[in-house]
């Protein structure tokens, strides 16, 4: 049974929250491509319990180490996806509070969040089938990669909203999409393949939203804003991606168990990709993103790490 609030003690400085000025309230379409994403999201709605053949999963066909690996792989996906349960609503609130932001992204984000909830239900069901959700990483040191406080960050008036969208709606959602495609390529289990097909269809819209929104804003950025966006993207890649948030093999010192599990899940066709495939995906995606950002006047540097080739 649940009870009243369980909240950690405040240790961070007070936030700067924008004060909304609601009227005049523009509700006509001003970003038609993003409105189209909202409309297609509604039209392509699905139901995790009705539209996936869960009976085809048959976890008992895999031996115990593989089941345990799949359990860890999908638990980690769940730890990532639950970010959306606080981050997407916070982003939506920010769009509503900042004067002059368009209605189309606000509508779109409501659909995005429902889709994230459906992904969570699917991942939860997969972890349950393979032995039950793992409630935390094997190494507590890996937890900091997930505790990013994004909901607080985006609500803070000092956070530039376009820079936030660049990091977490365009770049990160685009990377997640490409990784999902790599996992899907290897997925031989029909239930997992079906889950990933739905997730990919949704994430195509999520990534498109971020990049389309940036494209609509970019012509109006000052040079200082372009540099700010580049700085925040660079920090995101160094502090999140290279810490193994999406690819645990990038952080073997704290995510070895998760990297090993992904390797086994990939071999068994349970919705993961081998390290080499993910490295290729990451390098190709960042190269493409760098080109798109350059067209907007945002210069992304080259990244070097001893875990993979420079990218």
């Amino acid at each position: 049974m649940h009870g009243p609030a369980q909240r950690a003690a405040p240790t961070l400085p007070p936030m700067r929250l924008l004060v909304e000025r609601r009227f005049p309230l523009e509700m006509n379409v001003t970003l038609p491509q993003i409105r189209e994403l909202y409309d297609s999201g509604k039209a392509e709605r699905w139901n995790p319990h009705r539209d996936i053949d869960w009976s085809a999963l048959q976890p008992e066909q895999y031996d115990a180490p593989v089941r345990e690996a799949a359990r860890r792989t999908w638990s980690r996906r769940l730890w990532m996806e639950v970010t959306g349960l606080t981050e997407t609503p916070a982003l939506l609130v920010r769009f509503c509070m900042e004067t002059g932001r368009e209605i189309d992204p606000k509508f779109f984000l409501t659909v995005r969040n429902t889709e994230e909830a459906w992904h969570i239900e699917c991942y939860e069901r997969l972890t349950a089938a393979f032995g039950g959700r793992l409630t935390r990483p094997a190494d507590r040191g890996y937890e900091s990669a997930f505790n990013r406080n994004l909901h607080r960050r985006v609500l803070d008036a000092g956070q530039h909203l376009d820079a936030y969208v660049a990091c977490f709606a365009a770049f990160e959602d685009g990377l997640e999409l490409e990784l999902c495609r790599a996992w899907r390529t290897n997925a031989s289990n029909p239930t997992i393949a079906a889950v990933l097909d739905h997730v990919i269809a949704d994430k195509e819209r999520h990534a498109a939203f971020g990049w389309l929104y940036l494209a609509s804003r970019a012509p109006h950025w000052s040079q200082a804003e372009r540099e700010l966006i580049a700085d925040q993207l660079t920090a995101h890649i160094r502090d999140t991606e290279l810490k193994g948030y999406h690819c645990p093999w990038l952080a073997p010192e704290q995510a070895a168990a998760e990297a090993h599990a992904d390797a086994l899940s990939a071999t068994a066709g349970l919705g993961a990709a081998a390290r080499g495939e993910e490295e290729e995906t990451m390098a190709t995606y960042v190269a493409n993103a760098r080109h798109r950002l350059a067209d907007m006047g945002v210069a992304l540097p080259t990244f070097e790490t001893n875990r993979m080739r420079a990218f």
């Binding site: 009243p4 609030a5 405040p10 239900e121």
Partner: protein, 317 residues
């Protein structure tokens, strides 16, 4: 402060202590269904989605069947409804953030993802109605009326560490949404235009789940609360009724008398007489009174005792 193209350098911000002032700690990730009735609401909402563009028979709406005066009044009415639904698009996610920060049962977060989407659909469909009747109006015609429709402060309260969630849910959902639901049920009975009626019906269907969420939560949580905590819930509900509902948030005839209020009430009357979706004081009054009485009756067994409420047009309820 970083500025964007449209964000005026003068846009105000406030430095406030919020419940977000603690580092995130999502582990151990407990994701059990502790409130299965709310999880089922999420599943029911997933099954019963609708699309304002596809599922409303827009071709049956004939603006030419109405006079210029009726169309204008209805545009104003449906625009006002769109503003009200829009408010929920940012209030609903603010509450969802709070559920996560306070490690509330995951069922609540999941349900609110789709609740926010439903609020977006409501805003979209109300905006479309206004557009098809001649054009959406983007602000109250008379600025004075903004105070009655701008916001009821839920988003601010949702992020405040000092205001208990239980009070917000009791006030926003079990009170304000319950009142809204009864108004929609009443509108569904009296609205004659087939498209307006269908729109009201779709919204009402969603609102019934929104209300159920509030009561399921309150029933589950109240047995764990102290009398002092229940008193805080009472105070929140009283504030919602006295400062928001009796100030005309849902029903313009309850707003303080002014030229602005009189203009809104007149627009509602014309819309009602045209059968395009509004209602009027004479027919809505007993519904409003009945709703408040029912809310009081429903909260009393939970240990929440509401006082009498007074309003010049309603007397004492």
């Amino acid at each position: 402060m970083a500025l964007s193209r449209d964000m005026s350098a003068q846009q105000a911000f406030e430095v406030v202590q919020t419940l977000l002032d603690a580092p995130e700690d999502r582990f151990p990730l407990t994701f059990n269904s502790d409130l299965p009735r709310i999880r089922e609401l999420f599943h029911a909402a997933t099954r019963n989605q609708w699309d304002p563009q596809i599922d409303v028979p827009w071709d049956q709406l004939d603006p030419d069947a109405y006079t210029e005066e009726q169309r204008y009044a209805a545009r104003l009415y449906w625009s006002r409804r769109a503003w009200s639904e829009y408010g929920a698009i940012s209030e609903s996610p603010a509450l969802q953030v709070r559920f996560g920060v306070e490690h509330r049962p995951s069922d609540m977060q999941l349900f609110f993802t789709i609740r926010s989407q439903e609020e977006a659909r409501h805003a979209e469909v109300c905006h479309t109605m206004a557009e098809r009747l001649g054009g959406y109006i983007e602000k109250p015609v008379q600025q004075l009326f903004e105070g009655s429709v701008a916001t009821h402060g839920v988003r601010r309260a949702a992020l405040s560490a000092d205001i208990p969630l239980e009070g917000i849910i009791a006030a926003l959902v079990c009170t304000a949404e319950e009142i809204a639901f009864d108004v929609f049920r009443h509108l569904e009975e009296i609205t004659r235009d087939p498209v307006a009626k269908q729109v009201v019906r779709f919204i009402m269907r969603d609102e019934s789940r929104h209300c159920a969420f509030g009561w399921y939560f309150l029933e589950a949580i109240c047995e764990t609360l102290t009398p002092e905590q229940k008193k805080m819930i009472e105070d929140s509900v009283v504030t919602m009724v006295e400062k928001v509902e009796l100030n005309g948030y849902h029903s313009s005839w309850l707003a303080p008398d002014s030229p602005a209020t009189r203009a809104e009430v007149e627009a509602d009357r014309i819309t009602y007489e045209a059968g395009l979706g509004s209602t009027i004081e004479e027919v809505e009054k007993p519904i409003f009174v009945g709703t408040l009485q029912r809310i009081r009756d429903q909260m009393q067994p939970l240990g929440i005792n509401l006082p009498p409420f007074s309003h010049p047009k309603l007397g004492t309820i």
